[in-house]
Symmetry: C3
Subunit: 331 residues, 3 copies
């Protein structure tokens, strides 16, 4: 898979064309994303500021799965790069008229936007679209099924680097429904690529992937043990729909076993930070005391998410622009 992802995501000089998954991307490229985001995030006076990098470009938000919040962060990032944004809500569009997905895609391509930001309930959807896309079009994965959510993982890495500086000595625990989480999958890949000392996953057997050890992580079923001496605790969001199956007994019982409290956090390092992709289920994944406490960096994650999305979009688009510049007329 790695080579295939590399081929699809990178151009022949190893630069980012599409951003679909962490899989197949090297430490240098992830670091370049973080550094580029830093250049947007560290503008003085305010966290991010409008820049003219993508003036004249059209970015289409192609959301097959409703997610106002994620769509808004990409829309904001695009507008801060001076791009124009089209929101294409696929659920109310031609697909409901009986058109096939592939016909919809070909039609959208024919409208020639410069970038698609894709969210889809099916794993592999963004890869599929990138494989079909015209040479001048970039695709950014905004979450596909249970497969990947690479911009979320990169904003998490950005938040960690902001607080901890160097990745090398870190121990990171990921808590909750790792099995069904595209966020966790992308985080584990990113953390290992960036060379942390140890990645742990913590949760009940029913919510941890069978191949966890093959992914280079250590498995814990007990939260107190799992967070011992870690520098970073990443809580996953518990999807309510999991409760409906036999996988989990109740929110209350889940909190008893895997809910993060200040008491349980005492096992972690004194300067440990607590992260969550949002939105939080207070009293399920964690206590409000933790969510609003001094170790929580949850709102910084949201904030850094804009800079990371600006970084990924501008990097992918600049390669396109560079490639096309020879044949383009002056604006």
């Amino acid at each position: 898979m790695a080579n295939q992802n590399q081929d699809l995501q990178l151009d022949d000089q190893g630069r980012l064309r599409h951003f679909l998954t962490i899989d197949g991307l090297g430490r240098d490229l992830l670091t370049e994303i973080l550094d580029t985001a830093e250049s947007f995030a560290s503008l003085p006076g305010r966290p991010v500021k409008k820049v003219p990098l993508l003036r004249g470009k059209i970015i289409t938000n192609l959301f097959f799965e409703n997610s106002t919040r994620t769509r808004t962060t990409f829309e904001l990032a695009a507008k801060l790069l001076s791009a124009d944004v089209i929101n294409f809500n696929v659920s109310v569009s031609a697909t409901s008229k009986g058109e096939t997905l592939l016909d919809t895609l070909r039609n959208l391509e024919a409208m020639h936007t410069d970038m698609f930001v894709v969210r889809h309930a099916q794993s592999g959807a963004a890869h599929f679209i990138a494989g079909q896309a015209a040479p001048g079009v970039s695709v950014v994965n905004a979450g596909d099924g249970q497969h990947a959510h690479p911009t979320q993982a990169m904003l998490d890495m950005f938040t960690i680097r902001k607080h901890k500086g160097d990745f090398t000595p870190l121990r990171v625990a990921i808590v909750g429904d790792v099995l069904h989480s595209r966020v966790a999958r992308s985080q584990i890949l990113a953390l290992n690529t960036l060379g942390v000392t140890e990645v742990r996953v913590i949760g009940p057997r029913t919510l941890l992937p069978g191949e966890a050890r093959a992914m280079g992580v250590h498995v814990y079923h007990n939260l107190e043990d799992g967070v011992r001496d870690v520098d970073v605790v990443i809580m996953l969001r518990l999807q309510n729909e999991r409760m409906k199956g036999a996988l989990l007994p109740s929110q209350h019982e889940y909190f008893q076993l895997y809910g993060l409290t200040d008491e349980r956090l005492e096992n972690a390092r004194p300067d440990a930070i607590v992260m969550h992709p949002g939105p939080i289920n207070r009293g399920v994944e964690m206590d409000s005391a933790v969510a609003d406490g001094p170790r929580s960096v949850i709102l910084q994650q949201v904030s850094y998410g804009i800079a990371i999305r600006m970084a990924v979009m501008s990097m992918a688009m600049q390669v396109r622009t560079a490639a096309a510049s020879k044949e383009e007329a002056p604006a």
Copy 2:
């Protein structure tokens, strides 16, 4: 309440930071809003024209209550000021995933937009958000519950000044469901602050507030008496949901008692103008002959609403910009 509103709405030099309510704002500030709107509205060639005042700023429409028309006027005003606009439809967003309102707000703040335009079914919502907002963020109230709708009141004042010039000698009648109307509440405050001779409210006992006299208005239950010698008649919109309770018998009976007709208007001054916040229920609040007649300035109200919203947005944002300019990098 006045001092508290002043503290929240004005900076230490008395300039507008948030625009939440007329309450606590002085005549000078209301006049400054009207004058600023005049500068946008009186551009030659067309009523308003795009200006670069808010280029690079991000304005988020945060509508917890659906209102396409009001949202559109704010969106238009923002775009005519060259700002970028994000429409955040809260009903389909994270709150439906179990997130608390406060978490949603904190998340939106973390995305660092420069201004929130807030519409909410609950009184006080815009104040609450302004109280929570980061120092660099302005909040404009686009209607909160039965409390306030200050931009509507200011566009009404603008319309009155356009036609009557001086506020001092005017008698103004507000007709209808004053009790439940955020528009009426804001109008009464603005008219009294701008120093009109007399404000009257006209309606059945069940639809007039008990504290009407304390608000400095004269109460009439008879329309013919109430409009005698007035310069301005402001009709309120009758909410159909009021019909469901015992407050009102039927639309037909309401029109018999409080519907405005040309005949009833004969009691008013010959040059009286007729206003309505829209949308009109023809044959309920007024005859079509009145709505489309020579005294009606209803469409001018809509038109002036863009200029008023441009004025409020640019005033609140320029204070922000001035405050932040010392620490900001050049664009």
Copy 3:
């Protein structure tokens, strides 16, 4: 009707003010639209590119009928012309509060946008709005009932000219539900105005208009006969709702009689092209082998649609701008 359309659509120098229907427009004007689109479509480096022609203008998409795809193409075209776009979704707006259509329109006008792009289920809606619009406002018809869809017809003409060069020698067949199709009506008018040798309509008696011969077309009920020696085959989309009535037996039976296959296409000229307005019902209107085959130019139609919409919008707006420029202040 022609003179009336001419009066409404053209200014006193014969230039486009509104674009409502092909009816009443001469060959020169249609050719000017095609040439203007060509200037956008033939920019080197990419099919269309952002140009500053409509910077500072506000275009409102006024869609009374849901059509994400058509709305998106107009939004794209407007943004590529550097205009600002307001999407006004009428179904959720004030009309649901009991406001009349005329009041809604007057209100939208009072917000002074520069152009309305109108889609409505009722024939004549765009004409009605253009007749009511303020002097400074242009209206573009994005489809009204079963009456007209002139931008679709013009993008079809553009596609034909790209492939065939000269219209004069061409034979064109339109296949399917011509009776209910606003697309077909506009295509027939455009083809005849541009002077093709022959226009044919092909379909069952129940789906062909009684006045077909009066429209200057030849009628065929047999597909094999109808496509003989034609240069262009235009397939219409079959509306599923037609199946519900007695007009048509079943999708399967329709395909047996009027579905386009490679075999049936052998009767057409060897270099014939196949068109469809999209979205395609594969296996109903045509075989996938045809839709994806070498004669299909269906995706080019979508692509050219952006350029055509840019052409129509900029032509109509430039007349406005020229007319208004004497009284306008510098930006």
